[in-house]
């Protein structure tokens, strides 16, 4: 067997477009071959990352979330101990509906009242009776409730649950009611908060944003959850809703005003640096200001640049690995 000479990356499909933009530019500007960036999801990527060291394992795992403790354990059990964590920026999560239809200004409570299985009415938890947005919030149009939200495989779903549903649950007071009902069991209360109605108002989308878009196009009432980058590429078909009166944009997310976003990472095997040609160069190239900075191509495509990019650059330059608490 002859030795592998290109960087091999796998993981998150959210990070994939950014990684491929970087990989392409890297291939153009360096003598190294263009890295291979596989998709398949954060979990699958990290799993392969933690499979072990060596040529027939990947060098970098992309992830739309931070690596978990339990995963690190398996990693180190397989000898993958020196892991460099690189945060490349943030992914904004936006709500959008069919262009030309009603425009929306949401709050977290609106979403909770629209989609939760049970809501608090007059001090009691009852089955969600709302059928139009107007029922949810008198300021909103009398449009039928129909939401296309990420399926349970997507990390975006977790963000949606944490930053929208749970927040709404607390805002509307339902959380306290549930805490009381569950005898102070926080876990149970949270679970109840994020339990969605099953009458077809909320539809899980397991596919990609293109599927959500198609669903909205064939169902004019639909409101979908998208990544910021996706929305920005499809402004001809979608109009974005505000959240707590903030219009989502690279700027408003970067500044932290717009609440719904999540960090994106990649993980790198230190042991592979120097062995796989171009690995470190690639990692450094990825977080260059010209690439991942505010004016770089990634931001242009929709990545919310990390305000602390310098720190990240240092981490790579110094090959700082994560401490694994064993």
């Amino acid at each position: 067997a002859s030795a592998r000479d290109q960087v091999q990356i796998a993981g998150s499909s959210t990070v994939l477009p950014y990684a491929s933009i970087v990989a392409e530019a890297f291939g153009e500007n360096f003598d190294y071959p263009t890295p291979v960036v596989e998709s398949g999801g954060s979990s699958a990527g990290l799993k392969r990352f933690c499979e072990g060291l060596g040529e027939n394992t990947i060098d970098i795992a992309n992830a739309s979330r931070q690596i978990k403790e339990s995963e690190l354990k398996i990693c180190s059990a397989n000898g993958v101990t020196d892991i460099i964590e690189v945060r490349i920026g943030y992914d904004g999560i936006v709500f959008a509906s069919e262009k030309g239809g009603n425009s929306f200004a949401f709050t977290a409570s609106d979403w909770f009242l629209a989609l939760s299985d049970q809501i608090l009415v007059d001090g009691a938890m009852i089955d969600n009776p709302n059928t139009t947005w107007n029922d949810v919030n008198a300021d909103m149009p009398a449009q039928k409730l129909q939401a296309f939200i990420p399926g349970t495989k997507h990390g975006t779903r977790e963000v949606f649950e944490d930053k929208v549903l749970l927040a709404g649950c607390e805002e509307t007071g339902a959380f306290d009611a549930l805490m009381a009902a569950n005898g102070g069991d926080k876990g149970a209360a949270e679970k109840a908060c994020i339990t969605l109605r099953t009458d077809g108002v909320s539809v899980d989308i397991d596919g990609d944003y293109t599927e959500t878009l198609a669903r909205i196009e064939s169902n004019k009432d639909g409101i979908g959850v998208f990544g910021l980058a996706f929305y920005e590429n499809n402004t001809d078909k979608l109009q974005v809703a505000t959240m707590a009166d903030i219009v989502p944009s690279v700027e408003s997310i970067s500044s932290g005003e717009y609440p719904v976003s999540r960090p994106l990472y990649f993980y790198l095997k230190q042991a592979h640096i120097g062995v796989i040609p171009g690995l470190k160069d690639f990692a450094e190239f990825f977080v260059l200001d010209e690439i991942a900075g505010e004016d770089g191509p990634l931001a242009e495509y929709g990545l919310v640049a990390d305000p602390e990019l310098e720190v990240t650059q240092e981490i790579i330059a110094d090959e700082q690995t994560i401490d694994i608490a064993m």
Partner: protein, 482 residues
Amino acid sequence: MSAFWLTITVLILSAFGAYAGRAQSLRVAGGDARKLHSLPKYYSSFVALGVLIPCLFVLVIWLFAQPKLIERGAEQMLNASSEPSLVMSDVRRVADGLGVAVAQGALSETEAHAPIENLRDVLGGVGVALGNEVTPDVLSAAQGMRAQEQRGNQFRMFAVLGLAALTLVFGLSRITPEFRARNAVERVVLALLITAASLAILTTVGIVLSMIFETRNFFGLHSWKDFFFGVKWAPNFRGDSELSILPLLWGTIYISLIALLVSVPIGLFAAIYLSEYAGPKTRGVAKPLLEILAGIPTIVYGLFALLTIGPLLLNTFGSGGLLGVEWMSGATAVLTAGLVMGIMLIPFVSSLSDDIINAVPQAMRDGSLGLGATKSETIRQVVIPAALPGIVGAILLAASRAIGETMIVVLGAGAIAKFSANPLDAMTTITTRIVSQLTGDGDFASPETLVAFALGLTLFVLTLGLNIIALYIVRKYREQYE
């Protein structure tokens, strides 16, 4: 001699063996091939195979074993502190690079064995990229490895060529007029056939092995009672998920059933028309055209379900639809996926059944027509029963395909698991959940991800059971009618 040229040499020797075997057989028969037990070509194949098989076997083993042995030696030489496989890949890269450099004339053979300055540039110059500067011990390990490789390759050459000569002489010496060369050659062929058939078992073992450990991990984290007997499928990022296979199983069965209800009648009637009514021209055109349906990527069918069939059904059965009923609340439904999947499966049923129906002897049809049966009576009562075992096979294949389909289900039937008898409800299948959980964002060591393996293994066992039953039924039926 490189492995490639060695293989070529062995091939040439075995071709020579073929020639010599033929000549020798004719010689021992005194020039009269009729005195031989077998045709001369069997003697020649006997000698050729006798050379080829052992030599290639030794060569392949050698190719696998030598690098392992040499690397182990080099590893000990290095007594590497960090991950040995990585250092070794560096060593291997340097060793290979030295070979390339010598081949391209950038280094002389003697230079390649001496310490080399700025090796990275030298190798870079011949197109071998190195990650960083080469440490002396890596270089010396690489050089040692190269030397050993060269020695090993020499041994390999002697061993293989020696074996080739030996087997050649032995093969030729076996040739007598009585020698049953055909039987010997056929035994080899039979062994190959058996090997091919056993591959199915190996694959099964592989599948089970590649899933069983993760499945065990899953059952370590999640209660098997909930998995097998729970009623809800609700994975959840914070853990504490309900992961029961039953609603998924229901969705799988329901969707496959609808797909079969679409594809079996259409496919079977199409097959009947093609083989019994259509002229050769129609058949020659229609059959391959239908077969294209099997080749359209499933993503296209998925989009077709999402963009065309789903909305169409919604406009019919949904609120404000053509029928004025409100049976359907979203475009995703069991029926959507079932219909589209059915279309995809048409050629599975039609093409295979057509071949099988076509093979029913004409005498069978004559017998029925001679009794005054119409063509359709003949088909329904004589031809189809005669072709039934094969048709059942085709349908099973279609059903198998339905169970394994993902894209159409994701885009057509949705991602929500539920028990419902309404075909206009969204549901999902085991296979799509396997894909979803495997490609999701959850913690890969969590039950939410590991459940994919348990689902896969359970589905495997279930279909195995179904197949055993199907085999039993087909057997019984066949015993009656053959």
